[in-house]
Symmetry: C2
Subunit: 320 residues, 2 copies
């Protein structure tokens, strides 16, 4: 129960879970969670979004009537200021644009709705309330299953003309290198995402290289915790893959500096949080090596908001 | 002779020449040129700047008394809004910061002075009056002796926290690759600048590879005109080097798109102007190949202002 009346809701609509937050004066006052349906239609997904909003434990008997604004961070293309989310491969049946605004107004009445890209809104939250709260410019990098990024310049989220600003997971770091999930080759995400690392580990395992990574994972997903455990055992393949991941993330950050010259970079996401400060230090070393000017090396720090970033950032879309 | 009274002067202070422009209502109404001294002190350089301003053919007997503002684009570090140019290795004796503002006020009285980085101010001019005049965002790339870039976002020149924004010549495109003039390796400028191409051509020549490039250049500088002539003869090494140059510039532009997602890129500079549209087309092909989303491929067009860009952009600093 919270003491202030919550009227703005932020929703982090992910492929596996839906996180909602009631936000008052830019602060999260309550959160709730539901699983994202694995099958069905966009309507089923939006029913779960509504259920996760209803679940928020805020003062008074009925949150429905008091909501005036809902911001959504979605894993698909979202035009700034709009209410529609384009095709989202990680959401069931979401293979064409869906007007999330209209769908939520059916369920919650005359609310204002804004949508944003999930990674971009998380970067916005880190900029306003997290690792970037004291600076005007922030690059936020999320190293999880893949590698995402969001860029805030002069206090404003940069979307770009086609909406791909901050997509540093697809920067080419090794021309013709390892395949990337997008179909390209040699991208940051080919080496630094959990999925890319698993792809390389399994191929090297099949090629006869023994590793605690494949031992621990068996037929299951090679989770961040497994990467960490193998690293702690000093497993050579794990050491190698994590060093490569840090190297390419550092290189990507150097590229961002040479384009827009930000002074602060926040690094988060499941894998980065697991690997902690040694991973950030290795990223900083790689970035320093790639930049001709020592004074241009940015401060590379951990993100501060953890899982709340997406939902809070979605609510902050109304302050953009 | 021009019919309007010129009060704002732009100066393009280069390593070999000084170009000045009288600018009225954002248009160049007169230009003049002097050689940059090869020896001497910053005071000698600034004497030549003053002479190049005096040389401007504008209405009335004495331009001195009518100048109110002088903008300088300089080949050294220049803080936005300031009047000081840091150490500039291409200017004689300029090995410490020089207060250009104070020096010009001694010569021209109570004028306002602003300094900017030479490449950045040229990008500003292309944005306001050249290839980017109809769009809010522009990346300008200059492929000459080296490779420089300047970035205008939402109509404003991006400098960045340490002043290196737009320095895309030093993006790493081949980790551990060819040396760059800055001491790094595998940078865009290692492959795409006239100097980098000459370095590679001479080494391959010494390794036994015959080429029209070294034949034509002899012991002299391998000028852009020589690269063009060798290319027109179908010289295999020239074809190879120019293809590599286009490839890395296209890759660099793709990286800029993945960071800030601009829709328009202007490419100019001595070498690019010589090589013309086929070079731009090859750059576009490389950029398209490097981007996962076809809709994000920017329009890559020639710069429009030629040699005037620097001086005009320096004058436009007063409109920033």
């Amino acid at each position: 129960m919270v003491s202030r009346v919550a009227t703005t809701i932020g929703v982090d609509l992910g492929g596996t879970k839906i996180l909602t937050a009631a936000v008052v004066d830019g602060e999260v006052v309550a959160t709730a969670k539901r699983s994202t349906p694995r099958t069905g239609t966009p309507a089923d997904v939006l029913d779960q979004v509504a259920a996760a909003i209803d679940k928020l434990d805020v003062e008074g008997p009925d949150i429905h009537g008091r909501i005036t604004r809902i911001g959504i961070g979605a894993p698909g293309p979202a035009r700034p200021g709009g209410t529609t989310v384009g095709a989202a491969p990680n959401l069931p049946g979401w293979d064409a644009p869906v007007d999330v605004g209209a769908a939520l107004q059916e369920r919650f009445g005359a609310v204002d709705v804004l949508v944003g890209n999930d990674v971009n809104v998380a970067a916005l939250a880190e900029s306003r309330r997290g690792a970037g709260r004291d600076v005007d410019d922030l690059l936020a990098v999320f190293v999880g299953t893949g590698v995402g990024g969001g860029l805030v310049l002069d206090g404003r989220l940069r979307n770009g003309v086609s909406g791909v600003a901050g997509e540093i997971g697809h920067l080419v770091v090794v021309p013709g290198g390892e395949p990337c999930g997008c179909g390209g080759r040699g991208h940051v995400e080919s080496y630094a995402g959990r999925a890319g690392m698993e792809r390389i580990a399994r191929r090297r395992h099949e090629g006869g290289e023994p590793s605690a990574l494949t031992e621990l994972a068996g037929d299951g997903r090679m989770k961040s915790s497994i990467v960490q455990a193998a690293l702690e055992r000093g497993d050579p393949l794990a050491v190698d893959l994590v060093a490569d991941a840090a190297r390419v993330v550092g290189l990507a950050i150097a590229s961002v500096v040479l384009v827009v010259d930000v002074g602060t970079v926040a690094v988060g996401g499941g894998l980065a949080e697991r690997l902690g400060l040694p991973f950030l230090d290795a990223i900083t070393d790689s970035c320093r090596e790639a930049l001709p000017w020592p004074s241009a090396v940015p401060s590379i720090v951990p993100t501060r908001l953890g899982d709340d970033a997406g939902a809070l950032g979605a609510a902050l879309l109304f302050e953009e």
